[in-house]
Amino acid sequence: MKTQQLDRIGTDPEAFEAFYRENVEGVQRFVARRVDDRERAADLTAEIFLAAITAAHTYDRRLGPPQAWLYGIARVTVAADRRRRGRERAGMQRVRGSALIGDDDIAAMDARIDAEARSRELYAAMGRLAEGERAVLELVVLDGLSVSEAAAAAGVRPVTARVRLHRARRKLRAELEGPSPRARRPVNQPQRIEEEGS
């Protein structure tokens, strides 16, 4: 999608449709990396696009590509949902994704969710990180964004993102290792949490 079109998706159905078609699979995968419940994933997918529609006029192309912007929205939406779990869903959503699931959709949705099991483990392990650090780590490690894209999505400067990423990785490693008698020791941790490009 051309960036100059993005600010129109809130009021131009054609622009929205192009944006949606380009991103719906990516958004669903994004959600599946965090959520293992089909209905909830469908609701969240709807919420993310609704939020994008509402927030389209705030898109600032200088801050990064549309996809990074959308992932930033997606991340905040999923995180907010995680916090309010166990409670009534806040308010009535204009579009309820789970009501749109047909029998034919189930296999594809479950396959997507199954494929992302490992990502969800990592996502859960990030639970105790500070929010700002977590944001950058999620976007880089789970979603494959570059550091500068993750910075754009999280609304921070690249240098801040880099610092946070570094901290988050260090903390997550410690977390995954569990309590250790030695505060610091050289670690060769799993592939996906290794430092990269920072």
């Binding site: 009021t11 131009d12 916090r83 579009v95 749109l100 047909g102």
Partner: protein, 241 residues
């Protein structure tokens, strides 16, 4: 599973149809002030968030603008890091190449520093960070009585929340030499979300006199609605939080 769904159409297509309907509805209302065109009035949006166990995260911002002609620079709850472990600055003022100035506030400290930085960027500003539950006594300036037609909206600003705080952009050409950017913020009750209001004041501005902030229910929108000499801000309306 669900009745009434078209055969041969999958979830993605059904969702698209629903969302398109939302966009079409919005298109029908476009021009009715859904944006955040700047004027010399302001709206204050309270975006109270819930406190998470570990400390003060907020929900996604839900900016709600009421009224048509008066929408302006808005305000948002600021997620203030109580902020010990973050070395980044409390704010950033970044002039962009095109005459805009991007302002990011990540914690409610160093009001003077922000004021100075804005001044260096060519924007006269008055920044006040107040104690919890406090606000500046209104009015602090006399709103433009010219009706503030849309043609005056040469500067626009939207306030959006990011992971690190609140970001807004000011267009320098939209601020006349006599104007002052007023930034006022205070921690919300019980730390559940902080109020940040951004206004562009025309003409003389009186100093901030801290008074107890009016109670704002979640999602409330206050909006000044025209020149009022000495009177309180009118026009409190509530939106479904």
């Amino acid at each position: 599973m669900n009745q009434g769904q078209d055969q041969g159409v999958n979830f993605e297509e059904r969702l698209l149809a629903e969302l398109r309907a939302v966009v079409e509805e919005r298109a029908a209302h476009a021009g009715a002030g859904a944006g955040v065109e700047r004027n010399r009035r302001y709206a204050t949006v309270s975006l109270h968030s819930r406190l998470a166990a570990g400390g003060g995260r907020r929900l996604a911002p839900r900016l709600v603008f009421g009224g048509a002609a008066v929408a302006a620079v808005a305000a948002a709850v600021l997620a203030v890091s109580s902020g010990t472990d973050d070395t980044s600055s409390a704010f950033a003022v970044e002039p962009q190449g095109d005459g805009e100035v991007r302002v990011e506030i990540s914690s409610l400290s160093d009001a003077e520093g922000l004021e100075k930085a804005l001044g260096e960027a060519g924007i006269k500003a008055d920044v006040n960070y107040l104690a919890a539950g406090m606000a500046c006594r209104e009015p602090r300036f006399t709103p433009n009585s010219g009706g503030g037609g849309p043609e005056r909206s040469k500067s626009s600003s939207s306030v959006r929340q990011t992971d690190s705080g609140v970001v807004f952009t000011i267009t320098r050409s939209g601020i006349d030499p006599g104007d002052t950017l007023l930034v006022t913020a205070s921690p919300g009750p019980e730390g559940i979300g902080d109020m940040l209001s951004v206004q562009i004041a025309e003409g003389a501005v009186s100093a901030c006199v801290p008074v107890a902030a009016p109670e704002l229910p979640p999602g409330a929108v206050t909006q000044s609605s025209g020149p009022q000499n000495g009177g309180p801000q009118k026009g409190l309306s509530q939106s479904g939080g």
